[in-house]
Amino acid sequence: MSDSTTPTPMNGPEPSDMQALRCADCARSDSLVTDLAPTSALPIPVEAMMGFPDGVPHAQRTARGLDRRTFLRNGLAGVASVYSATQLDWGSVWEAAMAEAAEPMQKSLVCIFLNGGNDGLNNIVPVAGPEYASYQSQRTNIARIIGASTGTQVGTTVMPGTGGSLAFANPLVSGAANNGDTRGLDTLYGDGLGGLGSDLAIFPAADYTPANRSHFESRDYWFAGALQKLQTGWLGRWLDTYGSTANPLQAVSLDSSLSKQIRSSKAPVCAIESLNGARFDVPTVTTADANAEVGKLAAVAAAQAGNEHLGRSRDIYGLTVDVSNRLGGLKGGTPVAGYPANTDLTRKLQLAATLLGAGLGTRIVTVDWGSFDTHGGQIAAQDPQLSVLSRGLAAFKADLAARGIEDKVVTMVFSEFGRRIGSNDSGGTDHGAGGMMLVSGSAVRGGLAGEHPGVKVSDDGDLVVKTDFRSVYQSLISEWLGGDPAAILPGGAFAPIHRYDGGTALMK
């Protein structure tokens, strides 16, 4: 395939390239997130991703209307790598997907994995008197300051509803002086009271005990939903019990391979690296939009009656422009403003929104993103990513709202562990415990949903884990996805989450 016809990943300027800063043991960690070979490939027709033209009766949205001829005629929006215990024939997959498309959208979950071990302590900062002094003394070279950022140090913005004890690091906060946008984690969080407009639950120290500081082991625990390695992921088991037996699009990893979170024993699941968002493009031309100009040529007067071939050419060129505008990197104009430009997270969140909005029965989406293994130069490496995360989550919510499905989607953000309280001499932090976990969505009861342990120097120099991550999974199953958590999560039941206001509900 030529470069320009392969899907174009928007791997523009990432906030950082952390490779040089990683510990030697971490270099191979990425490849171990996923390790299963797909059983087949599922072509995704353009029509499916475009949600079908208005007026197509649900009964006609079947495999019969999406045969191989249709693919040849209109092309593919993408290809899914299917993982399942048994081979599925193509027709039954589409029958299942289309049958689900005919139903009202069900509640779904997007899981964003911050790869590498995000340092939550510099995301949510203790800013009350003695706590802040302790924090500052242990992190002399990377500590945030209270209030506005200065030329040399990043500041903090107090989180409402925490009595002034905790604050967002400024890269996570909206506003021109911070991350350059009108939306961010603070606008999702709102007043923190859990009512209307308070849509972000924050767990400042979620993890498990005792800490296992290996990326691989720790990741496996989070993915399995158990403090041991299992052959299935926690969401894979949920799908085995409550999901479809025929629709691999019910759970999608936005990657070239499958996340262990959705590895199942029998429910079909899939990985989709990208949709075909390639555009008409002329190499080296940067001051003209070839896609838009081609679109104008495709829209000239209809071909003469009987000239099917020219008519076909103009139709297909027009369709290609349309598809690339809808599905593509959206270089020519993002329908929902506020996504950070040119980041892999943006591309994946836009793809997630497109998939969820296409009505193909997608319940679970997993995103693996970032380079958070900040052993050195942490501020320069982490803060741009925090800004992208903050703006990306807010834009994603707005994108889903514009598609009319925001109330059906909850987004969870996590990492395999937190980092040490004390910083090292390289201006970084080493593997620790107690990281930040977020759950976002208008159905979510926003606010501080787990305790902050403070930064008293404990035995190991780690944050004390105040929220078992499995408690959050438990709430997501029982309150959101549906089903019996005890059947999914070994070792339960777990203590309910504990909000600052004493509540135990994750959802409104």
């Binding site: 320009s4 081609v294 020219l310």
Partner: protein
């Protein structure tokens, strides 16, 4: 080389391959169209049409030479000018092409020959034979077999060298061609264990079609079996890959009575081929297919009768038939709005010839693969489906990308102060003045007027955009 198009079938699966019968077509041409055509004095549009359909597009020299001349003169030139090649041989990343070592070079080698051919009809017709007797490198090794078969096809396309070439002689030769014996497993067709693979395709795809125009079957399953026995006994000697030969072993041939189409005899392969080609549906089947290579609409009944009469009365010779088809007014229908999608190979080679681009890397093969037509890799023994199916959202991007890549390699002078109209005219000349609908011309001129031109970068990008839009847009896909 990329192997993204994974629907290629191996020969042994061909029995299950969907059969594509190429004549999927719009209504017959109108009288009004025919009235515009003066076959005694070609308009420039007629020259363009003939050289697109029977070659890879016109050059300025073609237009100058044939405008105002009778169609029959131009057709005679195409059918009586020897194969020739000109210019610098293609390379890949600075190295000479090595077709028998690298499959990308194998394909590039043919593309290079098409680009540099002095009589484009020869390579165009050779490519027709490759699609009619479609063998794939996926299951033919060593590659020398395909090189040898390519030379065979050229022999039946270079009608200056072989003016009496007939379909019958080609069928005789291709039946025992080493590549064909390997691709359709004829080398395993031996008495006691007849292999029906080639026998079936000889009737179904190469010679007769499954049914006639009325829907009646042209042959029975028993005919397939009996024909297979007649074709048995051939093997391949490929000990020296550069001198592969096929040979007949009498002991491996099924000697004994056979009944084909109800006729009794102890047939060998050429006698069996004679029976197939004498079948009443052979002439209409083959004539219609050859016609469809050049002309969008199927022949009407009277034309088909006339053509099959010429074809059969002259011993299945190719040249008299081609003379008729290429000069038929139907080929010149809808001159003001071309009505046939260019097959990828024609599109790619045409653009390279227009822009004087040579083979220097794998750009052509990469894009041909993405457009769905990689020579030597047909998806099935029936060749490529073609027609309207050539275009989908992926292949449209590949088509545009290919030409845009060629355009971006052009040397473009900077003309300070060039007006939008002058910029349009210069670009139009640089891309060989292709057909563009009036509305398309207006849209591209509109772009030229909107495009910035205040500095050299903007002026250069305006030229690149204009050229790509003219050559690679929707109108550039038809001929």
């Amino acid at each position: 080389m990329s192997r993204q198009t994974k629907h290629r079938r191996r020969a042994k699966q061909s029995a299950a391959a969907p059969r594509r019968h190429r004549l999927q077509l719009p209504p017959a041409i109108t009288t009004a169209d025919q009235q515009k055509v003066d076959v005694t004095s070609m308009s420039p549009a007629m020259v363009d049409r003939l050289f697109w359909r029977a070659g890879f597009g016109p050059t300025a020299a073609d237009r100058a030479a044939w405008t105002g001349k009778p169609v029959t003169d131009a057709v005679a030139w195409l059918l009586s000018t020897p194969a020739g090649i000109t210019g610098t041989p293609g390379t890949r990343d600075g190295k000479p092409l090595d077709p028998t070592v690298d499959d990308t070079d194998l394909v590039l080698g043919w593309v290079d020959r098409m680009v540099r051919s002095t009589n484009p009809f020869v390579e165009r017709m050779g490519f027709f034979w490759h699609r009619h007797f479609a063998n794939s490198r996926e299951s033919v090794s060593p590659p020398q077999l395909l090189v040898k078969q390519n030379a065979l096809f050229r022999k039946y396309s270079d009608l200056a060298a072989t003016p009496t070439a007939s379909f019958k002689d080609l069928a005789y030769e291709v039946t025992v061609d080493p590549s064909m014996l390997r691709f359709l497993t004829g080398e395993y067709n031996v008495k006691g264990a007849p292999n029906e693979n080639y026998a079936r395709e000889l009737m179904e795809l190469f010679g007769l079609g499954v049914t006639d125009a009325a829907g009646a079957r042209n042959y029975s399953e028993e005919d397939v079996k009996q024909l297979a026995k007649s074709l048995s006994g051939w093997q391949i000697d490929d000990k020296n890959p550069d001198a592969v030969v096929s040979y007949f072993t009498p002991d491996r041939w099924y000697s004994g009575p056979k009944i084909v189409f109800g006729k009794f005899g102890n047939y060998k392969q050429n006698e069996a081929i004679d029976l197939v080609l004498a079948h009443p549906n052979h002439a209409p089947y083959f004539v219609s297919k050859l016609w469809g290579e050049f002309i969008t609409t199927p022949p009407d009944a009277a034309t088909l009768t006339k053509l099959t009469g010429i074809y059969t009365s002259q011993g299945l010779k190719l040249k008299p038939l081609l003379e008729q088809i290429l000069a038929d007014p139907a080929l010149y229908a809808s001159l003001d709005e071309p009505n046939l999608i260019k097959p990828p190979v024609v599109y790619v080679v045409g653009a390279m010839r227009t822009l004087a681009a040579l083979v220097t890397d794998s750009t052509a093969t990469d894009h041909l693969d993405a457009m769905g037509q990689l020579p030597y890799f047909p998806p099935t023994v029936a060749g490529w489906e073609g027609g309207l199916s050539w275009l989908n959202t992926n292949t449209a991007l590949a088509r545009f990308s290919f030409v845009a890549t060629l355009v971006s390699r052009m040397t473009i002078d900077d003309v300070i102060g060039e007006s939008p109209a002058a910029a349009y005219d210069r670009a139009y000349a640089a891309v060989g003045q292709p057909w563009l609908a009036p509305a398309t011309q207006t849209a591209i001129r509109d772009y030229s007027g909107r495009a910035g031109s205040s500095n050299s970068k903007l002026r250069k990008e305006r030229q690149l955009m204009l050229r790509a839009l003219m050559l690679a847009g929707p109108d550039g896909q038809v001929m």
